[in-house]
Amino acid sequence: MSATRTVRLVWFVTWFNVRMLLASEFFILTTFITPLIFASLAFLLFESGGRQGGQTLMYVALGTGMMGVWSTTLFGCGGAIAWQRWEGTLELLVNAPSRYDFILAGQTMGAVVLGFYGIVATLVWGVVLFGMPLEATFPLILPLSLFAAVVSLGSLGMLIATTFVLYRHANALGNLLEYPIWLIAGLLVPIATLPVWVRPLSWLLAPTWGMEAIRGAATGTEPPLLAIAMCFGLAVVYYVLARVMLVVVLDKARRDATLALQ
């Protein structure tokens, strides 16, 4: 398959998945409303704890926005595959002549791109309701940080989605991964406050570096370039792992006849 065809395929699947997700009321509620609730709670908690000021508000807005992105990634990847399994289209996708890793990449990207609405929404929420000043220390690097975060979260989502292809009840795994990652990736609480043994785990996670890249560019508290590089590096590692996993998973699915099970 030519590079042009591959890009077109991934783009088309991304666009189609965005449309499918937006047709789900539950997804809209999760993606569009939940980050605002997270943000309100966090703003009020920080305020009552005496933590105020523009930097703090920005820290909170970006953190809660990223929580929404992570939730949407998990729900978008797992939910989409579970729904395809239910509709009977999963077999068709897996059995199409196009490479399934490209299809899965497009589906995952669709979810992550939609999830990034959460960051925009929580920033606007912070400005409008909590008087947060909207300014970025490195405005030119911020788009690159956002792009790096999208790519790395998408690749991690794809890696997790391989299990959803194999196991029909993998949604339980998705739910299990939601809250711990919020904590371990330092979305609301700095990683430095976590036990030392947890930190290596944090460094393996895309949301950690995606968060650092975005916060670094927006608030200037940390240098964003290392985090951006880590995002791209992890994205490559996740993608390679996902491809290896897919070979194993699809072979097992054909052996165990699990694709059509609801």
């Binding site: 449309r19 077999e91 996708l93 059995n95 196009s98």
Partner: protein, 345 residues
């Protein structure tokens, strides 16, 4: 069209040799026991290029499992299969490029978007040239009679429309071999007839078609050759006419009864001139299908054996493919399967 794997033009389009598929399942919650359920027990057949080949059998006979192995969705437990010369286990992508498949039923479409969006999406996945997509989709919509309805969401489609959209989806990349797994299931008579015309047009266009069905008349009307499959094995194979020959020397006496007892049926079966007795349950009545090699002369004797049973219509007729099918299924089933086949007719 893509080139076949081998240059030999007489190579079959589909070739299955001793295909076996066993499903593994578990019973129990605390003390789990592994259970191997054989679905296909070593079937072999060939389908020539341009042929419409039917796999006919009752529910659970192994038809869908066979198709799923041939379209690379399932790995065979044993045996080999090739489609257009490509091995279904080792050359999955070569097989996938050359086949289209349609499963019967409501599933397999994105309900929340339009029929056109479904086709555009699958056209991308099936690698249809972007410059070709619009023309191809329009032609297929025309062929399946959905022109003018393509902008509507699929969730509002009738079952017949969904099935026709399935067919269009399966043909998007102009496959050489088309697998149709019970495509007319659940369709009303008009929808089923239209679908049969569509299937015929595929063969006219030079495609090889493998059709599974449990409707005898459908297999008889459409297929060049039919394999009857039961309990995971092929029990007969040939043209509709040759399969009917298995019961050609028989006469079918249909006796409508109301509340017939098992003893009465046993008495019929015990008659020396009766070859086989099957029963179809209707709402209020039971139709006894008595097969005899001595014509209708024994009718009065049979009625006498039914004793006090209330009798409705009695008809003598020539055997059909359905009778041949019932005979084949009943004579090759396990005890449990035979009882089921006798009841479902």
């Amino acid at each position: 069209m893509l080139p076949p794997a081998a240059s030999s033009s007489d190579r079959p389009a589909i070739e299955a040799v001793d295909l076996v598929r066993t499903y593994r399942t578990h019973t129990g919650v605390i003390r789990r026991h592994r259970l191997d359920v054989p679905a296909v027990r070593g079937i072999s057949f060939e389908v020539r290029g341009g042929e419409l080949f039917g796999l006919l059998g009752p529910n659970g006979a192994g038809k869908t499992t066979t198709i799923k192995m041939l379209i690379t969705l399932l790995l065979p437990t044993d045996g080999t299969a090739r489609v257009m010369g490509h091995d279904v286990v080792k050359e999955t992508n070569e097989v996938r490029k050359r086949i289209g498949y349609v499963f019967g039923g409501d599933r397999g479409l994105y309900d929340r978007v339009s029929g056109l969006d479904n086709l555009r999406y699958f056209a991308e996945l099936y690698g249809v040239d972007p410059a070709e997509q619009k023309r191809r989709i329009a032609a297929l919509l025309e062929m399946v009679g959905l022109t003018g309805r393509e902008q509507e969401k699929v969730e509002g489609y009738s079952r017949g429309m969904r099935q026709r959209l399935h067919v269009a989806r399966g043909l998007l990349h102009d496959p050489e071999v088309v697998f149709l797994d019970e495509p007319s299931i659940g369709l009303d008579p008009v929808g089923a007839r239209e679908l049969r015309l569509t299937i015929k047009s595929l063969v006219d266009a030079g495609k090889t078609v493998l059709l599974t069905t449990h409707y005898m008349f459908e297999a008889d009307a459409l297929c060049d050759r039919i394999a009857v499959i039961n309990d995971g094995r092929i029990v007969a194979m040939g043209t509709g006419a040759s399969l009917k020959e298995a019961v050609a020397n028989r006469t079918i006496i249909e006796i409508e009864t109301f509340g017939v007892s098992a003893e009465s049926i046993a008495a019929l079966r015990a008659d020396p001139d009766v070859v086989e007795v099957n029963m179809e349950e209707r709402d209020q009545s039971q139709i006894l299908l008595v097969q005899s090699e001595t014509g209708t002369a024994i009718t009065q004797r049979l009625l006498a054996k039914l004793g006090e049973t209330r009798i409705g219509k009695v008809v003598g007729r020539e055997p059909t493919l359905e009778d041949a099918y019932v005979h084949l299924i009943a004579s090759t089933s396990s005890a449990e399967g035979a009882a089921r086949a006798a009841l479902v007719g």
